[in-house]
């Protein structure tokens, strides 16, 4: 792991002060030339290994602040692995090894002085299956705050539920179990839990794949709203979903390679690479 070019000291400071257009050395533009003006995340030559097997190969990508970036690609291409690199969720897999630089607001998240828990406060995550705790709706939202020793107030809980477009549906049943909600509501509850600590980035790993079309459309609307406050990075198998909701799209293909990263419109109208064209038009994959 090489030293990041930053003088930030201490995890909290490093992960809480994104510097738009910061002095990230070796910044490379997306392959097709789209300009990233405010990268909040900069991946430089990230390799990931699971034991002897290489899951990602030299992933270089700049993720813009307060936009939706979608990562698409066939199963096993490494897009979820890359997502988990951003908030060091791969640390939880003992055989996983990450090489390269992954800068968040200019600070390498893999530096020794970075506390992964503090990092995840700034980079929250929502998973494929809604996973509310067997607690009340209120406590589900409050949980994320409590584990980080943050103050829990009714106002913060309400704000998070409003931010997740769930408040109007649950405001009279905050003491009821989160497990009593529908699948779509449970997922929005998980989003509320993720945004309650006021992160800067929200990572989503196929957040709507277990939901019906109506619940999916609510989540998609919500993602667009979230991008006004947060940077959203979403892994999805649903290419039309990526086309509908994202500003930038990265296409991973088999072998853990990021083949193209560009404005979503460009990717879906006129991609640079034939392999990407073949994948998104369904000719392979």
């Amino acid at each position: 792991m090489s030293e990041p070019e930053t003088d930030a000291e201490g995890t909290d400071e490093a992960v809480s002060s994104p510097t738009p257009g910061s002095n990230i050395a070796g910044t490379s533009q997306p392959e097709s030339g789209a300009l990233i003006e405010n990268p909040i995340i900069h991946s430089q030559d990230i390799d990931v290994f699971y034991g002897d097997e290489q899951a990602l190969q030299e992933i270089t990508m700049e993720i813009p602040e307060k936009q939706v970036t979608a990562l698409i690609g066939p199963s096993g291409c490494g897009k979820s692995t890359f997502l988990r690199c951003i908030n060091r969720m791969n640390d939880l897999i003992s055989a996983a090894r990450v090489e390269g630089d992954l800068l968040f607001a200019g600070k390498n998240v893999y530096d020794d002085d970075v506390d992964p828990v503090a990092l995840r406060r700034k980079i929250g995550m929502v998973f494929q299956q809604p996973n509310p705790f067997p607690k009340s709706i209120y406590d589900n939202v409050a949980y994320g705050l409590r584990v980080q020793d943050k103050e829990v107030t009714d106002e913060i809980v309400e704000e998070a539920l409003r931010g997740a477009a769930l408040w109007d549906e649950v405001k009279h049943q905050l003491d009821e179990s989160g497990l009593e909600l529908s699948g779509g509501q449970q997922q929005r509850l998980c989003i509320a839990r993720a945004i309650a600590p006021d992160p800067e980035v929200v990572l989503m790993d196929e957040p709507a794949s277990a939901l019906d079309p109506v619940a999916t459309s609510k989540i998609e609307d919500l993602i667009s709203d979230l991008a006004e406050e947060y940077t959203v990075v979403i892994v999805t198998h649903n290419m039309q979903q990526a086309a509908r909701i994202s500003d930038k799209t990265g296409v991973f293909l088999t072998g853990g390679e990021l083949v193209e990263f560009d404005n979503t419109q460009k990717i879906f109208e006129n991609p640079e690479h034939q392999r990407v064209e073949d994948y998104i038009t369904g000719k392979f994959g």
Binding site: M239, Q240, A243, F268, E269, N270, P271, E277, I280, T281, G282, K283, F284, G285
Partner: protein, 224 residues
Amino acid sequence: MPRNEYQSQLADLRADVVDMSETVAERLEMGLEALETGDEALAEAVIDGDDEINQMYLDLEKQCTDLIALQQPVAGDLRFIAASFKIITDLERIADLATNLGEYAKAGETSLFPEVDIQELGDVTLEMLAESMAAYAEEDREQCYAVNDRDDDLDYLCEVASDTVVRELIEHDQLDADEEIEAYMEDVSRFLLTIRDIERIGDHSVNIAARTLYMIDNNDELIY
């Protein structure tokens, strides 16, 4: 290759658009022949056949909308469908103009100005239509540019033809009877409309070439 059904629907669309263009070219040829020979039955056949072309257009329009609604095409596939959607409109309009030629053939005198070779102009449009559709069928970008260049020649020929008509009008002997004047005016108007319609057929072929270039390369330089 995955999505076999989808791929086969795309191939069908391309083949059906080419089929429609062949029928339209046939009607254009018949219209031109009716103009040359004054064959009223042939002229009538072109006019009656327009319903068939309209139905082909509607069927193809549905193929395009079904593909968009059901298959969510993107990138090159989407450009192909969008281009096909526009091209069938141009083909339908060419067929309308061919029926106009049939109407002119039925209406009366079509060899008023022997110095103007309507068949020569018509042959150019037939070739432009064939070339633009070959470009579409074979994704031939060079052919697209060639059709566009050819249109300049056709425009020039049509302009010369119109000038010839106007010059002859100026030099024409005075007609005495009102009826003669009326009939002559109608014949002249029809002749000028024939030239205009042929020039428009060329424009539609250029549209086909322009949309084809967009389809192939996402290049819109020939559109307008």
